[in-house]
Amino acid sequence: MSWATMLTTMGEGMLRTSAIFFLTVLFSMPLGMIVMLLRRSRFSVVRWIMKIYIAVMRGTPLMLQLLAWYFGPYYLFGMSIRGYRFTAIIIGFTMNYAAYFAEIYRGGIEAIPNGQYEAADVLGYNKVQTFFKIILPQVIKTILPAITNEVITLVKDTSLAFALAYNEMFALAKQIAASQTSFTPYVVAGVFYFIANYLVAFIMERIEKAFDYYQ
C-alpha cells in the first residue's frame, strides 16, 4: 500500500474520529452542566439518582457502555437497530463524558469561597447575576486544566468506537496493519493522535490565557 493511499484511508478515518470527538464535546459539556446542577439539587432523590448515574458511568468501562447502548434496545425490547450505530456511539460517549464533566464543574463550583456569595449579596446582585457574573467566570478559570485533560482523553478514547465496528482511524490502522503485516499504520496513528492533542492543548492554553485576568 502506498503512503498516499494509507494517508488518505486513515485521513477518512480521522474524519470519522473527529465526528465522534466534536459531537461528544458539543453534547457532553452542556449535559455535564445539567447533571452537575441536579447533583447539587435541593431534593435528595434527584441527588441520589445523579450520584448513581455518575457512579455507573465512571465505574464501568466505556467499551461496555457502548455495547450496552447499541445492543440494549434490541436485546431488551427487540427493536431494530439498523442505522442506529453512530447514534449509539454518540449517546454512549456523551453520557459517559457528561458524568466526568459534571464532577469537574462541581469541583470548580465548590471551590468558590462563601465570601464571594456574601459579597455579591451585599453589592445587591440577585441569584442569577451572582452565578453568571461572579461565580461562573471564576469556576471556568479553575476548571480549564481539568477540562483539557478530559478532552485529550476523549481524543484517544474515540478508538473505543470500534467495539461497535465503527471504522474510525485506529480501527483502520489495525486493518491496514493486518493486511500489510506492518507496524507503520500504528506509527501514523500515533502521529495523528499527537497532532490532534497538541492542537487541543494549544487551543485550551489560548482559552486559559483569555481568562487570565486578576493577575
Partner: protein, 288 residues
C-alpha cells in the same frame, strides 16, 4: 515558549522512533536472522494441529437464506466465477473444496431470481487477510468478500459490507446488523450455534516458527511461548482438542491480531505462533 516547542518536537520524534523501532523488529531483535536471507525465515512445522472447514454462518433458523446463498455459491462454482476469483488468491487456492464436478445440482436458484430490493448484509472481520481485508487501494476486498459480492450479483441482490468487531460478531448477527458471518469462519466447534451454509474450504491449523529456532516437532514446543489470535480456531483448538499440547507450553499468549504476534515472533519475544496455514502464509509473505 521556543524552548517548549523544541521539547515538544523532541518528544514527538522520540515517540515516533521508538514506535517504529518496535515495528521494524529486524532493525533490533531480528538482526541475526537477516544474515540467512534467501531461505525462508519462518516455516510451518510438518505436524499440524488439525483440520478445520470454513463455511458461511447464518442466524440460527435462517434455513431459507442459507439455502439460497449456498445455492448461489454453487452456481458460481458451476459457471467458473468461483475459480476465477480463487485464481487471484494463490495462498488459499489449494485449500478450497468446491469442484464443479462434485456439485449437487439441487437447490440452485436461477440467475437473477432474487428480490432486487433486498440488501444482503455481509458480516466479516476486516483484519483477516486474505479472506477479508483492506486492499492496497484502501477498499474492502478479499476472497470471501469477492465471492459474496458475486453471489449477490448472481441473485440480483444488493450487497452491503458490514465489517465487524470480531468479539461482537454474535451480537451483531443476532441483532440483525448483518445477515451472515462469512470471513474464514470455522464450522468446527460451532455446529450448533449457527445455521450453516455451504462449506467451501478446508484449512489446516499449524505452528509457525523461525526456521533457525531448532523447533521441529510439536513436542519441541514444550517450555516455549506460543502466540495465538483471540477467538480464532487455532485458539479454540489449543483450548479444546489440543489442550494437552497447550499444557506443555511455558505460556500461551493471546493477541488481538496476528500482526502483533508476528512482530513478537520476529523480535524473539515468543517462539511460535499457532495459526491456520493460509493466514500464516499471508503473514510471512513479506519475508520471502
Amino acid at each position: 515558549m521556543n524552548m517548549k516547542k523544541t521539547l515538544c518536537l523532541v518528544f514527538a520524534l522520540v515517540m515516533t522512533l521508538s514506535l517504529s523501532a518496535c515495528g521494524g523488529g529486524s532493525t533490533t531483535g531480528g538482526s541475526a536472522s537477516s544474515s540467512d536471507a534467501g531461505n525462508a525465515k519462518y516455516v510451518f512445522l510438518e505436524e499440524d494441529l488439525g483440520v478445520e472447514t470454513y463455511a458461511i454462518g447464518f442466524r440460527l433458523g435462517d434455513e431459507e437464506l442459507a439455502k439460497t446463498v449456498s445455492g448461489a455459491v454453487k452456481a458460481l462454482v458451476l459457471n467458473g466465477k468461483f475459480d476465477e476469483i480463487a485464481a487471484k488468491y494463490p495462498d488459499i487456492k489449494d485449500y478450497l473444496c468446491l469442484k464443479a464436478e462434485d456439485i449437487d445440482q439441487s437447490d440452485i436458484p436461477a440467475q437473477g431470481s432474487g428480490d432486487s430490493n433486498y440488501t444482503f448484509k455481509h458480516g466479516f472481520d476486516l483484519s483477516y487477510p486474505p479472506y477479508s481485508y483492506l486492499k492496497e487501494d484502501g477498499t474492502v476486498g478479499g476472497f470471501d468478500v469477492e465471492v459474496c459480492q458475486a453471489a449477490c450479483e448472481y441473485l440480483g441482490w444488493k450487497y452491503e459490507a458490514v465489517p465487524l468487531n470480531w468479539e461482537a460478531k454474535d451480537m451483531e448477527l443476532n441483532a440483525g446488523s448483518c445477515d451472515c458471518i462469512w470471513s474464514g469462519f470455522t464450522k468446527e466447534g460451532r455446529e450448533d450455534k449457527y445455521t450453516w451454509g455451504i462449506t467451501y474450504s478446508n484449512n489446516t491449523q499449524g505452528i509457525l516458527v523461525a526456521a533457525d529456532s531448532g523447533i521441529k516437532t510439536l513436542a519441541d514446543l514444550s517450555g516455549k511461548v506460543v502466540g495465538v489470535q483471540i477467538d480464532t480456531s487455532a485458539a479454540e483448538m489449543l483450548e479444546d482438542s489440543q489442550a494437552d499440547l497447550a499444557k506443555t507450553f511455558s505460556e500461551l499468549k493471546t493477541y488481538e491480531t496476528y500482526t502483533v504476534a508476528y512482530n513478537d515472533l520476529k523480535a524473539g519475544a515468543i517462539d511460535a505462533i499457532a495459526i491456520d496455514m493460509t493466514s500464516g502464509a499471508y503473514l510471512i509473505a513479506d519475508e520471502s
